[in-house]
């Protein structure tokens, strides 16, 4: 970095470098930043993706059941669990898991790459993924519940019943897709929650991922790495946004075919 | 064009060639490139109103009648045209002059629930215009509000209640009291009874008529219900796709409708006094989009009395109906190419007979 040049020249140089895939070199290790980030991104993405999968696969059925059995035992149990899940920081759930699973064969420390065997990989990321997935799933579940409740009181659901469809078809054929439309928008916004969670959870489980690199470089004041990480996070966000937009157009025909004819 | 003979008592309101176009929601880029699309909600309307008179505006949803009312009330900025009120140009007044105008032109809205702020008591709602225009304060204000309440058939005990505690008809009375508070010369009534129960509609209509007789207020009465409009109006304008299809005294319009649209519309109303025969469905389809109106006569795509090429090629202008009720200065005008044909020719094809 040519620190003696004026700031705007530095900035332009830096931007030029970025567009060429050059995020600079670490002050600390003298490694190229891009290489460092690519080296640690796998565990982070693994935990994040599995966490999201866990969240969605809990939230969807739980939210639907909770809505359909409103004010019945199932709903109360789901609601209490969801509120608990909503009220714990991810890393603290991680700490609890570490304590609980300390004496079991499930590893509570470190990470092995997916290339070294699926089972080992999975066993290392399952606990961190649960830790990040639970709060995320809790929020989603509440969303699914309220959205489902709203949809079930819509006129077209009454129409479906008046057609003589049985309740399962009314819910899953006529209700579900409509109920998911608002949930999908929120899922994107919640990505911020998930990302922060993964970074903190990596610290708890001693996973050398992106989060550790990030936190380490802040403590070392390794500015090129911090800059590179910030750019990476922004890219992840934009990418996530695109995915969400795609899913959104997929489930909402009013976006696909605008306007009255 | 509008060459109305200026009568001795000049009209209270004259609106000439009013246009109101709304931009269609498009992306920022196409707006930047300038290919903006417009909904021509109101597209060149002339309308005038004398003191103490009620002019009815009718048409189907999307014909621009509500937009016309709001533009005349200067709630919307007209895109083109000029409005004169009480011998003053009000087309682009703003600031204090606009505020003064608000004291003279008031609006009654369609939905008596939506037009009252749910977080205010009806007393506060009716008092608000008095505060805004510094007409009364303190005890005097309260007195005046009570007076207004009594005038519209509400009681003093209602003052501190919230809109949701009232029935639809009572809410509309509150709306009328609010409009009345500033003692306006003109009230734009936008579908004031269409959201009300049948048995309550009559109460509100009679109330409006009584207030008119008492205070000499003029009404621009906008509605889709021809029977209501007929009942309350002195003159009537029929709108279609942002334009006036036909205009005249209530008697002329209802006794001798000239425009095929007016005739078809009257024919469509479900009646309690006469059964319509089944082949009488004369208005097919729905009005075209006002962002892309048809060439020529806007009504030609649905017209049961379609003539031919001239309807498609050339837009008819509003012309005086000849031989109408004998008098020369009749205000009955209609925009239809049948006016250029002979009476016999028209009668031969008339599907309404």
């Amino acid at each position: 970095m040519n620190l003696d040049e004026p700031v705007h020249v530095q900035y332009i140089n830096w931007m030029t470098d970025i567009t060429q895939g050059d995020l600079g070199t670490s002050f600390f290790s003298n490694q190229p930043v891009l290489e460092m980030i690519v080296g640690v991104i796998e565990p982070t993405l693994s935990i994040g993706t599995l966490g999201m999968l866990i969240a969605v696969s809990i939230a969807l059925p739980a939210g639907i059941i909770s809505a359909l059995r409103r004010y019945q035992p199932e709903d109360y149990v789901a609601t209490i669990l969801a509120f608990l899940g909503l009220s714990m920081p991810e890393f603290w759930i991680g700490i609890l898991l570490v304590l609980v699973f300390a004496t079991t064969p499930i590893p509570i420390y470190g990470y092995t790459a997916i290339s070294q065997g699926l089972v080992s990989w999975l066993s290392h990321i399952i606990l961190p993924a649960i830790a990040v997935g639970v709060p995320y799933g809790a929020i989603l579940m509440r969303m699914v519940r309220s959205s489902m409740l709203e949809v079930m009181s819509e006129d077209y659901v009454r129409t479906a019943r008046a057609k003589g469809l049985d309740e399962n078809l009314v819910v899953f054929k006529h209700g579900l897709q409509n109920a998911l439309i608002p949930v999908v928008t929120v899922a994107g916004i919640l990505f911020a929650v998930l990302l922060g969670g993964v970074v903190a959870v990596e610290l708890v489980f001693g996973v050398s991922g992106f989060g550790r690199l990030l936190i380490g470089s802040i403590q070392r004041r390794d500015f090129p790495v911090i800059q590179g990480s910030v750019i990476t996070i922004s890219f992840l966000f934009v990418g996530m946004n695109l995915v969400i937009d795609f899913v959104y157009t997929l489930i909402n025909p009013q976006i696909r075919y605008g306007g009255e004819s | 064009m509008s060459q109305k003979a200026k009568s001795v008592d000049s009209p209270l309101l004259t609106a000439e060639n009013i246009k109101k176009h709304f931009p269609v929601e498009t992306g920022i880029i196409s707006r930047f490139l300038g290919d903006e699309e417009f909904v021509r909600a109101v597209d060149g309307v002339d309308i005038e109103l004398r003191e103490g008179e009620t002019v009815g505006v009718v048409g189907e949803s999307g014909c621009g009648k509500t937009t016309l009312g709001r533009t005349v009330a200067r709630l919307y900025e007209p895109s083109d045209g000029s409005i004169h009120f009480d011998d003053q140009e009000i087309t682009d007044v703003s600031g204090d002059r606009l505020k003064k105008l608000r004291k003279n032109i008031q609006v009654i809205f369609q939905d008596p629930m939506s037009s009252l702020n749910p977080r205010k008591t009806v007393g506060e709602i009716v008092a608000k215009p008095l505060e805004i225009h510094d007409l009364a304060s303190g005890d005097e204000k309260r007195e005046r509000v009570i007076e207004l309440f009594e005038e519209v058939g509400l009681q003093e005990s209602h003052l501190d209640r919230y809109p949701h505690e009232f029935s639809g008809g009572q809410r509309q009375r509150v709306g009328i009291a609010r409009a009345l508070a500033v003692e306006p010369k003109l009230i734009i009534a936008d579908e004031p009874v269409s959201a009300l129960d049948v048995s309550v509609q009559a109460q509100i209509i009679n109330l409006m008529k009584r207030l008119q007789a008492e205070y000499g207020i003029s009404y621009l009465f906008i509605a889709h219900d021809l029977s209501v409009v007929k009942h309350i109006s002195d003159r009537v304008a029929v709108m279609y796709l942002g334009k006036i299809a036909e205009k005249g005294s209530t008697e002329e319009i209802f006794e001798n409708p000239q425009h095929p649209y007016t005739r078809a519309l009257m024919n469509s109303i479900p009646r309690v006094d006469k059964k319509r025969s089944r082949r009488d469905i004369l208005l097919e389809g729905t009005p075209p989009s006002p962002s892309n109106p048809p060439e020529g006569c806007p009504f030609h795509s649905r017209c049961p009395e379609f003539i031919g090429d001239e309807c498609v090629d050339r837009e008819p202008e509003l012309e005086q109906v000849s031989g109408d009720s004998g008098s020369e200065d009749s205000s009955h005008v209609v925009a239809c190419h049948w006016q250029e044909k002979s009476v016999e020719e028209r009668q031969e094809q008339d599907p309404f007979n």
């Binding site: 006129d155 077209y156 009454r158 129409t159 019943r161 008046a162 057609k163 003589g164 469809l165 049985d166 899953f172 054929k173 006529h174 897709q177 409509n178 909402n252 009013q254 075919y257 009255e260 004819s261 | 189907e60 058939g153 509400l154 009681q155 209602h158 505690e165 029935s167 639809g168 009572q170 129960d197 049948v198 048995s199 309550v200 009559a202 109460q203 209509i205 009679n206 109330l207 008529k209 009584r210 889709h224 029977s227 078809a264 024919n267 469509s268 109303i269 479900p270 009646r271 309690v272 006094d273 006469k274 059964k275 319509r276 089944r278 009488d280 469905i281 208005l283 097919e284 389809g285 729905t286």
Partner: protein, 364 residues
Amino acid sequence: MAEPLLEVENLRTHFDTEDGRVQAVDGISFSVEHGEIFGVVGESGSGKSVTARSIMQLIESPPGVINADAIRFKGEDLLEKSPPEIREIRGGEISMIFQDPMTSLNPVMTVGEQIAEVARHHLDTSESSGFWSEMKRKYVTGASHESESWRRAIELMDMVGLPDPEQRAHEYPHQLSGGMRQRVMIAQALAGDPSLIVADEPTTALDVSVEAQILHELLELRDEFDVSVVLITHDLGVIHETCDRLAVMYAGELMEKGKTGDVFEDPKHPYTQALMKSIPQITDDREWLDVIPGSVPDLVDKPAGCPFRERCEYAFEGCTEPLVEYDVGEKHTAACHLHSDEVNKELTDRPAAPESHEGPSEQV
């Protein structure tokens, strides 16, 4: 004479709300004959829509509770049917058309599929309409456009006057105009080949010109499909032009019932009379409309007796007695104690017109 298609006996539907029990329908009885259009007219809160939904048992419970001596359809009491049997009847024997065609159609399904689905469920098509095959159709393969049900959908869309049905069937509700959406609703109601259609304010959300088209369509289809219709509306004109017989409802109770011609020519209930006089007609030249003072009563903890007595110009002390339906003509009844043998007053000797044209102010 053959037994009626539908017989409702002493239907009472209430809702338990935080404010108390709302007796939305309070003991009404009527019957609908084969091939007949039967009108139910009333203002908002008169219980006409609840009546419609009670027949179909489409009342959310809680808070709603349906009670009746019987709701007989083709001689069988619907209240004694099991849920699967009721589902067979809904859409297959009795179908419904709702007021707002925009919100009553599913926004994320093509209109063709929404019609085809009914055919699959209620007609003998070769296609399975089980849960998993429907789910597969919806989320995996998409609806087949060669199938019998789809062809039936297109055929029906054509019959109810939708232009380009082949193409329209692939569109979503928001791509259609209000009138076209209501035609889709009608096609959907016909798809299961029902004997009775309950139409709840089918034209209220539409413009008069479209309203006329839809009513015309209903009349045509009645003949073509030999289906009876219960037409629910607040518009007396609509009733007059389409119905063979009608019932007038007020505050959950039946005020008057009879052939359309008889009731309109010679209404026997003070409420019917007052209602007819209060609406402006395109042919009338009255300076002032006749007003019914006050507003519809609160249905929470409704007092016994005639619900209209507070607003009735003929009210007398007998009006607090429970309502009874009196015969006032051939198949013409009116629930008004003025027609009882002791009173038997002619409603034509009206008292002097009220002083004010608006009548006294309403009570809250």
